[in-house]
Symmetry: C2
Subunit: 391 residues, 2 copies
């Protein structure tokens, strides 16, 4: 690892790991959740607010920034940190997920992938080398390799072909990466097939990346499959390097990930559901649009110390959603991210105290998760709506 | 005037007045601009942010709050201040303007007015007594009488009939008003007719209200008419009471109003145009969506100390508008209100120093106002779109 980046493990409790990495001289404790700022903003919030909530690192997206405002614009204005006035860590996704999962794919060869813009339908080429170059120009702290992300229900034969290309691309990304103050993480693929996940982990760790992501999950597969695939991958990842589970998200999934040895998470779920009025509480998600909140004086979550819960009634937030006031989406986002940040803090503290497993049991016993079937069908509906809207 | 409310004049420079009123023990310097929070939120911003910008008093709207969340809901939760977590002053409009100007009128008699909800088309009765009762329940600091607001191109005969009813209603509002920690302001009407404005001012001042608004302006009439009507009204208003010009707004109009002796203003213009990307600068309004901002590093207004101008490039704000990110509307609103607040501060300081007239000349000489004809046709278009949308 470079001077710029280091990772160390401080403690473990069964599978769960407490660690820290240092980026640009700044310490970031793990397990860590990264809010999603695809278009250089965590939707509805300022960078100052993200910092005030307590987050140290965010995720942004090469695909979105490439299309708007353009990589060159951000580079010419001093890079992504300065562009969005964020002095914390930034991880950029390569754009692979956006290109593959949302049916924007036009032509796929070993050289790279031609995709259509979701904005104007124009065609663009993305290669491993370009993905690295764009992320170097953006100046993120952690860049991701370009990977091929097959559907969760893809056959084993096709998935095998797909990881071969992912491996080829990972190597080319590594060879072309040259920015000193940036590290490049690999992405393990292999669909739902344990043997392919192991093969992918084995090959990528042989290239000695400073960190490893597990990709191609949380894209519509049932939750027990997600857990099985993580379990089938983790043993083949080096202990002394950070492990990043891409696209996860919900409180219950964060516990599952941490207990399996994951160090980093990102997901748009907390912010996306917030804008639909769905708010995290220690008892589960509640929808503020529900009529029972019409005249409720208590805050949404009396245990929460966010601006909204400290100073405003549930009735007021209900009213803002009911009247489609833009302030509604801000307050709900602020609340959900505050909830997730507090959860991650408690998770870290519990690992430190050796009580993670009992904390997990306690939390999940009181937390009503979204019904699994409802969840899967909601996710499928959402993915479909994105494809229709954006293509 | 009550213990609760007092007004005093500290200085004048030709027509311009520097004064202060005290509400609930808090001093508010005039001339003052009140941001509009029709639905109990200044669109996109929190009450804390309104306070941080420097505003002491805001306007909210009985019509909107009556429909959603309902007067009773706000009353049961401790009144409007507490509901929106705002400890500054609140002036509530009676709803007259909303009922009359936006074609929601169904039936008008001396008793009151039946209007249709812009939300579900349901019919509701509003009487002078109900308007007062609702505002007492909301607990605003300044309530407004229910008035009839004729169109600016209404005939003199019909306008005369209309002010008769306005006067009848003003008296009934006064008679039914009983809340101690709230004052009730009258509204002078009379369309574009000087003699009617004088008549209206004479009658209403004979009732000895603690403050007087000039209503029925800035509703589509040419700007020179607005000025003439103000000039025809002001001489008949008492010197020792605050004068409030309803629905005004733009930097140039604020100067005109102040120079004619107005003490209070409200307008949704600064926040409404902000959400369209139109930002105040000392040189006039600029639209951030313009391509010239695509890569501009400088802030929108280098003289501004708002969060947006202090920390973010024009390019970033342009990008947020271009991608329809919700943060865009917040930052633009924050900027425009910061601009207006700074302008009012400078106006007050200049009256204090006896340099208001030269400051006005200096400001307006550098400020490109929206072309008059363009402005009128834009306003008409907007009013029409509101009527279509909301009816």
């Amino acid at each position: 690892m470079s001077e710029f980046f280091s990772f160390k493990l401080n403690k473990t409790e069964r599978g769960a790991r407490l660690g820290e990495f240092v980026i640009r001289g700044k310490k970031i404790e793990t397990p860590v959740f990264m809010p999603v700022a695809s278009q250089a903003t965590v939707k509805t919030l300022t960078s100052d607010e993200i910092r005030q909530i307590g987050f140290d690192i965010i995720l942004s997206n090469t695909y979105h920034l490439y299309l708007r405002p353009g990589i060159e614009t951000i580079e010419s204005l001093g890079g992504l940190h300065r562009y969005m006035n964020w002095d914390g860590g930034i991880l950029t996704d390569s754009g692979g997920y956006q290109v593959f999962s949302l049916l924007r794919l036009r032509k796929l060869t070993d050289e790279g992938v031609v995709f259509r813009s979701h904005i104007d339908g124009s065609e663009h080429l993305l290669t491993p080398e370009l993905a690295v170059q764009y992320q170097e120009s953006l100046g993120s702290d952690i860049a991701m390799v370009l990977d091929e992300c097959p559907a969760h229900d893809e056959s084993i034969e096709k998935t095998r072909l797909s990881i071969n290309r992912t491996h080829l691309w990972a190597k080319r990304c590594l060879d072309s990466h040259s920015r000193v103050n940036q590290v490049l993480f690999a992405i393990v693929q292999g669909g739902v097939y344990s043997e392919l996940r192991r093969e992918s982990a084995d090959y990528l760790t042989s290239l000695d990346f400073p960190g490893y992501a597990i990709g191609g999950l949380s894209i519509g597969e049932p939750k027990e499959v997600t857990g099985e695939v993580i379990d089938a991958t983790i043993p083949y990842l080096p202990k002394n390097k950070p492990r990043y589970l891409m696209g996860v998200g919900s409180p219950e999934d964060l516990f599952e990930g941490v207990s399996r040895g994951i160090d980093m998470f990102d997901s748009a779920l907390p912010t996306r559901v917030a804008r639909n009025g769905s708010l995290f509480t220690s008892k589960g998600r509640v929808n503020i649009s529900n009529a029972r909140f019409t005249k409720m004086e208590e805050p949404v979550d009396p245990e929460c110390d966010c601006y909204c819960c400290r100073t405003l009634s549930s009735s007021y937030l209900h009213h803002l959603f009911n009247t489609k006031e833009l302030l509604a989406y801000r307050l709900a986002t602020l609340h959900n991210l505050t909830f997730i940040n507090r959860l991650m803090k408690k998770i870290r503290a519990s690992i430190n105290e050796g009580t993670f497993n009992s904390y997990k049991t306690e939390f999940l016993s009181g937390y009503r998760t979204t019904n699994e079937q409802v969840r899967v069908s909601q996710k499928e509906k959402w993915l479909k709506s994105q494809q229709l809207k954006e293509n």
